[in-house]
């Protein structure tokens, strides 16, 4: 099974195995083949029996039928391999139409006349082979050229037939209108000019498509496009030669060359199939060699890309527990949707999904090669998959840790606000009321000391509550950032603190909070344990990281594992993908340093 935006409807039904096709189908193919053989023989007989002055020599007549048979034969082969793809049918039809041009060699008037009208139908059919390899003509210029060829082969050819006066030895033209009115030479010039123009236009359209094709597409297109362009060029040249020379010998020489060039189309098609297989085979050998050791994910991708000749190839790994594909870094990597211009092929190992290869849609025409490459790499892919699954889990854990801390911060902020706008406000109001009440109580009253004590107690409570709220979340930090909050922090320290650097800009809130708490905790430790005479604080943004550093000149010997404060800080910093480092040699002061990534 494979999926692709380009061939989505057909992809599921792709039959690579001829054996699955029904017997009726095979019989029809056989019948068509026999019919083609017979048609070629009839054409050959008509050519050889011709009494006309410019009848083809025997060699050319045989070559002509061989060309037709080549189209029918290769066309049927391709049709049988890929029944869903119209290219095989088109090629077969081209072969049958090819034989029609021999009708004009007939000695019988009705057959000759039919030949005049039908002889060019092989040309638009051959042009339609630009539908290779998908079965659909992809670009507008190509479609216009093919449409033009149909108009030329039907209407213009019919118009020419109506005025064609039979030459010496030719039977009667049954559709001749009057005496042709002497229009034949004019019509013939128009007829020939149009086909030359169409042949040139076809070459241009093929060139344009070639330039926009990917490497695997080009590898596939090369033989067919080469042969097609050569045939179109020869058609134009032959038409020109026919029109400008009376020499039958020269004309026949170019005719022979043109037949050979046209025959190149089916053989180019065959060559393309064979070549793809040879390239794939060679690539596969190299792939197996390169997979000998356990390859790094990048090497694995390169090896597969080389083996399949698709530099754009990419790998995603299946994570069953999340039911999603992830890249080698563990990040989600969804399948390409319709219209993305990308295809994908899953790789299974022992019946379990392992990975998926994202590749150029051109590789869909050779699904065996992609599957073979996937199978060869399955073990290596399984190893890489386990790695990717672990990485995904790490990504998950890191994200959930950051979310938990962010949720905790949000909750602390909410609590701080509730304290500030609730209890603290009310207590200040209450304290003021007590003081006012005290005024109305004489100093001698027994209530006076009670009121005084109550108010003093309230003042203490307020101070404690303020510290508690500030510890929950410093309001100044969220309002003004580190530039304002760090000086305030430094100012409250009992050990003199010099603030060496502040960021000078707002950082992401989670980074600001982490940096703030690192400084707060470090300064608390300085005051409690370091016995320091001074401390230095700096928070600066360097190369996309917030670098926080608190150093003191105290006794050192701080053990980061001992206190829960530093441990919690390391967790908080780690959740942001940062690192916390404590250097505290005995007697050598303490340096607490945190580096926190902050993408702007």
């Amino acid at each position: 099974m494979s999926g692709s935006a380009e061939t989505a409807p057909a992809a599921g039904a792709t039959a690579v195995d001829g054996g699955s096709i029904g017997a009726g189908w095979r019989g029809a193919m056989l019948a068509l083949g026999l019919a083609g053989l017979a048609a070629g023989l009839v054409a050959l007989a008509l050519e050889l029996a011709s009494d006309q002055d410019d009848a083809l020599p025997t060699g050319l007549a045989v070559l002509s039928s061989v060309v037709g048979w080549a189209f029918v034969g290769v066309g049927l082969f391709a049709w049988w391999r890929r029944p869903d793809n119209r290219v095989g049918a088109i090629m077969t039809a081209t072969g049958f139409a090819w034989f029609l041009h021999s009708l004009v060699a007939a000695n019988s008037a009705p057959v000759f006349t039919a030949g005049l009208v039908l002889q060019n139908l092989a040309i638009p059919l051959a042009f339609s082979l630009t539908a290779f390899p998908t079965g659909r003509i992809p670009t507008r210029p190509e479609r216009l050229v093919v449409a033009g060829a149909w108009v030329w082969a039907t209407l213009l050819t019919l118009a020419l037939a109506l005025v064609t006066v039979p030459g010496p030895g030719e039977p009667e033209n049954l559709v001749l209108v009057g005496d042709g009115g002497g229009l034949e030479s004019t019509f013939r010039v128009i007829h020939e000019s149009v086909i030359i123009a169409l042949a040139v236009a076809l070459i241009g359209a093929l060139g344009a498509r070639w330039r926009t094709s990917s490497a695997p597409q080009r590898r596939e297109l090369a033989p067919v496009f080469g042969a097609g362009a050569a045939a179109a060029a020869m058609l134009a040249i032959l038409t020109l030669v026919d029109a400008t020379t009376d020499s039958t010998a020269a004309s026949n020489t170019f005719r022979a060359l043109t037949f050979l060039a046209v025959a190149g189309l089916p053989f180019g098609f065959l060559a393309g199939l064979v070549r793809a297989r040879v390239v794939a085979g060679r690539g596969m050998t190299t792939l197996v060699q390169r997979l000998g050791d356990v390859p790094a994910p990048g090497v694995l991708r390169d090896a597969l890309a080389d083996a399949l000749g698709d530099p754009s190839l990419d790998i995603a790994y299946w994570v069953p527990e999340a039911a999603e594909y992830v890249d080698a870094q563990g990040r989600p990597s969804p399948l390409p949707g319709p219209g993305s211009g990308r295809s994908w092929t899953p790789v299974e190992r022992e019946g379990r999904r392992v990975a998926v290869l994202f590749h150029d849609p051109a590789l869909d025409r050779d699904p065996e090669a992609v599957r073979a490459a996937g199978a060869a790499a399955a073990l290596a892919l399984e190893n890489a998959r386990l790695d990717a699954e672990l990485r995904r889990r790490v990504v998950d854990l890191r994200e959930s840790r950051a979310r938990i801390i962010a949720a905790g911060d949000a909750e602390r902020r909410r609590m701080e606000r509730n304290l500030h706008d609730g209890a603290q406000q009310r207590l200040v109001g209450l304290a003021l009321s007590l003081r006012l009440a005290r005024r109305h109580v004489g100093d001698g009253s027994p209530a006076a000391p009670l009121l005084d004590d109550a108010a003093d107690e309230l003042a203490e409570t307020l101070a404690e509550l303020r510290e508690l709220a500030r510890g929950l979340h410093p309001a100044l930090l969220s309002e003004r950032g580190l530039d304002a909050a760090l000086p305030a922090l430094a100012g409250r320290s009992t050990v003199p603190v010099s603030l060496v650097a502040t960021p000078g800009e707002r950082l992401p809130p989670s980074v600001e909070t982490a940096a703030y708490f690192v400084v707060a905790e470090a300064l608390t430790n300085v005051a409690k344990y370091a016995n320091a005479s001074r401390a230095e604080v700096s928070v600066a943004r360097e190369n996309g990281r917030a670098v926080v550093e608190v150093r003191d000149d105290g006794v050192g010997g701080a053990d980061p594992a001992a206190g829960s404060g530093l441990r919690g800080l390391a967790d908080r910093v780690g959740a942001l993908d940062g690192r916390l480092e404590v250097r505290s040699p005995a007697g050598g002061g303490t340096v607490v340093r945190a580096e926190i990534p902050c993408a702007s």
């Binding site: 606000r417 500030h420 706008d421 603290q424 406000q425 009310r426 200040v428 109001g429 209450l430 304290a431 003021l432 009321s433 003081r435 006012l436 005024r439 108010a455 309230l458 003042a459 307020l462 101070a463 303020r466 709220a469 500030r470 309001a475 100044l476 309002e479 003004r480 304002a484 909050a485 000086p487 305030a488 100012g491 409250r492 003199p496």
Partner: protein, 213 residues
């Protein structure tokens, strides 16, 4: 003296109104948010507005912003900002460039009734009031240098100057004569190398500028 009070806690607002009325001031408006405050200041021409830093709707620093707007549009109205927390950043932002008619106090200071009333009156008269805690932090930060040359008494006087007190107020606080305070002030300015300033709020600015340097 006409006063407007902006404070979203009803109990505290009522207490403040009572306190200031008892002190002989005329409370001409009580607002619960910054919008009402601005309207009352515009309509009732108070001498001073007592303003809470955090007020509805955003509960961040609308008091500080309101104070700046009031000083800009109604220069005759002083603003005393009350805050649950002392933030030097806010204090210096508010008083750093023009301390006249501006004050910044910790909310708890209302409990020292007389001193608080004095602060309101000072700001209403175009003076300034900076919370003693902020001052002591500023003083504490400037260790070393010319400050060390000051006597303990002179440091006390310097702190009271920074709070915005007049010589008279300082004299009352320290229970000395105004003459004595004047002598201290002259000595301090000499030792710190500051130009003598007449108006109290200019003196505050000079001292603040020195402490922040």
């Amino acid at each position: 003296m006409r006063v407007v009070i902006a404070e979203d806690s009803v109990l505290l607002r009522a207490g403040l109104a009572r306190l200031l009325a008892d002190a002989g001031m005329e409370v001409v408006g009580e607002a619960g948010n910054a919008g009402d405050l601005m309207r009352m200041v515009a309509l009732r021409a108070p001498d001073v507005a007592v303003v809470d830093v955090r007020m509805p709707p955003s509960h961040t620093d609308e008091g500080i912003r309101a104070a700046r707007t009031i000083r800009e549009r109604h220069p005759s109205c002083g603003v005393l900002v009350l805050s649950q927390y002392l933030e030097e950043a806010y204090a210096l932002e508010l008083l750093g460039e023009d301390a006249s008619g501006l004050g910044y106090l910790l909310k708890d200071r209302v409990m020292d009734l007389d001193r608080f009333v004095d602060s309101v009156r000072r700001v209403g008269e175009g003076g300034s009031a900076l919370d003693p805690e902020v001052v002591s932090r500023l003083l504490g930060r400037r260790r070393g240098g010319p400050l060390d040359a000051l006597t303990p008494r002179e440091r006390e006087v310097l702190g009271l100057m920074a709070e915005g007190r007049s010589n008279r107020g300082i004299a009352d606080q320290l229970v000395v004569t105004e003459r004595a305070v004047e002598k201290h002030v002259t000595s301090i300015f000499g030792k710190l190398g500051l130009p003598a300033a007449e108006a109290d709020h200019r003196r505050v600015l000079a001292v603040l500028a020195f402490l922040r340097a």
